[in-house]
């Protein structure tokens, strides 16, 4: 079981409160992603759950048991670090076996579990190497292997993919999702990359300055962001925002419209604009359109073979049903 509950948890370093009191429930088997800009407190929150940081006030429960005072070694959680934190003086085999050795499992069981983890992670032929002799992706796998062998209540991932190159990152993303599907164990995953959050999570927790801005499934956040911050953080490219007259016309302080919800053409639409830089991704093209009347540059998605060019005059047609309205405090008007 891996039910994790935070009750009124807060954290201060010296006199600075980095996480004001918050509540959060993570259900058994869920894949939860903490996402937010750097310095938002997401890693700190993860370390509070791990027990690597002391909680200033409140309590952490695992499966209903208060573990606030329990040292990390006894929380039965496994963690994958950003730096991988492999033991440089041990072979891959010993690295993976370390938690089992600590749990005093018998040798036969240890090697059985190490072999099977190595098999799953394609590490079998590297078992006798030292971490220093492995590539970034392989080290990442060893770190994951070390986490899975002990069959923890939950996995904690602290930005595990940020040291990998782009192609490898997509691969490992899939592997971790695959792992979650087969293990069905609770996973808590910290990242600043909203694409990772959207693609992997059952539930996303958006954090800013230690405060939970919104909790929900990826599509909930995409369709119904609670406020301006979530609206701008989720989605790629970012949502376009307009203020002033155009927002007033829709009875809002700010209005937002996603690039995929604007149609671009030479002759049809209500906003006039001039095509600026265009980004051709093949399947899609993103145009950056300068709209003098609105006093803004909007990003618009179009088909991959759209022939518009730099300097062309165009008209933009927003899908009004998808338009989102925000009040002066940044909260979405529903």
């Amino acid at each position: 079981m891996g039910l994790i509950t935070l009750k009124n948890v807060s954290k201060s370093f010296d006199d600075v409160e980095v996480i004001p009191p918050l509540d959060l429930e993570i259900r058994d088997g869920e894949f939860v992603v903490f996402v937010g800009p750097s310095g938002c407190g997401k890693s700190t929150l993860l370390r509070l759950i791990a027990g690597l940081e002391d909680i200033t006030s409140g309590r952490v429960e695992i499966d209903g048991v208060d573990v606030t005072e329990v040292p990390p070694a006894r929380r039965r959680l496994a963690m994958v670090f950003q730096s991988y934190a492999l033991y440089p003086h041990m072979s891959v085999r010993k690295n993976i076996a370390f938690p089992l050795r600590m749990a005093k499992l018998d040798k036969a069981e240890q090697s059985r579990r190490v072999e099977s983890a190595a098999h799953v992670l394609n590490l079998t032929e590297y078992l006798d190497r030292r971490p220093g002799q492995l590539s970034g992706g392989q080290r990442q796998r060893v770190a994951i292997g070390r986490a899975i062998v002990r069959e923890p209540e939950a996995f904690l991932f602290d930005e595990p993919l940020s040291n990998l190159d782009a192609a490898l990152r997509v691969n490992m993303r899939l592997e971790i999702s695959e792992l979650h599907q087969s293990l069905k164990t609770t996973m808590i995953y910290v990242t600043h990359d909203q694409v990772e959050a959207m693609t992997m999570a059952d539930k996303i927790v958006v954090l800013q300055a230690g405060v939970i801005e919104q909790v929900g499934s990826p599509l909930e956040l995409y369709h119904n962001p609670r406020n301006l911050f979530v609206a701008s953080f989720i989605g790629s490219p970012k949502m376009n925002f307009l203020r002033g007259d155009e927002a007033d016309r829709h009875g809002a302080h700010t209005i937002g419209i996603r690039p995929e919800h604007i149609r671009i053409s030479a002759n049809e639409g209500e906003w006039k604009g001039t095509v600026g830089v265009s980004e051709h991704l093949g399947a899609d093209t993103f145009f950056h359109v300068r709209c003098e009347e609105l006093g803004a540059t909007l990003t618009v998605r179009a088909d991959g073979d759209n022939p518009l060019q730099y300097g062309d005059s165009v008209l933009l047609a927003p899908e009004l049903a998808k338009l989102q309205r925000f009040d002066a405090d940044g909260l979405r008007i529903t």
């Binding site: 791990a50 027990g51 690597l52 990390p72 963690m79 934190a85 600590m102």
Partner: protein
Amino acid sequence: MARAVPARRKMLTTILGWGVGLTIFFPILWTFLTGFKTEAEAIASPPSFLLFDWTLSAYDAVNQRTDYLKHFWNSVVISFGSTGLGLLIAVPAAWAMAFVPAKRTKDILMWMLSTKMLPPVGVLIPIYLIFRDAGLLDTRLGLVIVLTLINLPIIVWMLFTYFREIPVDILEAARMDGAELRSEILFVLVPMAVPGIASTLLLNVILAWNEAFWTLNLTAAKAAPLTAFIASFSSPEGLFYAKLSAASTMAIAPILIVGWFSQKQLVRGLTFGAVK
């Protein structure tokens, strides 16, 4: 990307480099060679470089006239003793400073270093008098104590700079893997700290071995290490170049070899981590 160096240029730098290197090394080489000459050959003009009758007579003479082994053993006891004692005191201190830093840690480190700046001559008299009254003059224990104290700041600093480089992540990973404090120290911290401790040990043995202020001033005969033993050759009696060379070779050879092995750590250690 490194670019290929033209062979001609590499040839020139090689010749220049070896020329300079051998020039600097020459006094040591010459001493080594002279130790195998007879006293007459040692001052023969023109000097012979390699083509002389190699003999161990100078070594025999040194060993007969003086008790080389006793001084050698004094050097070993004093340098290893002071370094070992220093490590015993410094390891816990450096560990605490690196992993549980408090607000004053930095100040304490700087203050420790400042004691190293104290010119030894400034405290020579009190130490001499205290040692005289405590019966520590010309004892190995006395020198172990003094050398421990004068090298303690360096030992703490070196250990601190090594310990600080052990990533905290790894210790946390061990905790997450279910390691209690004892296992964390035993299986993770110690294996990662051993290389640092070893190079601290080597460097401080070298420093203590070659220390020549306190060893000259606080010993007479009984506890005199090799530095003082060699100093006894400063008032020459007859022909003594070969004997001086033989004794010098025996005094520096062990530590020169240790030094060659620890040259990388030397820079870090002696600059307190300011140059790596």
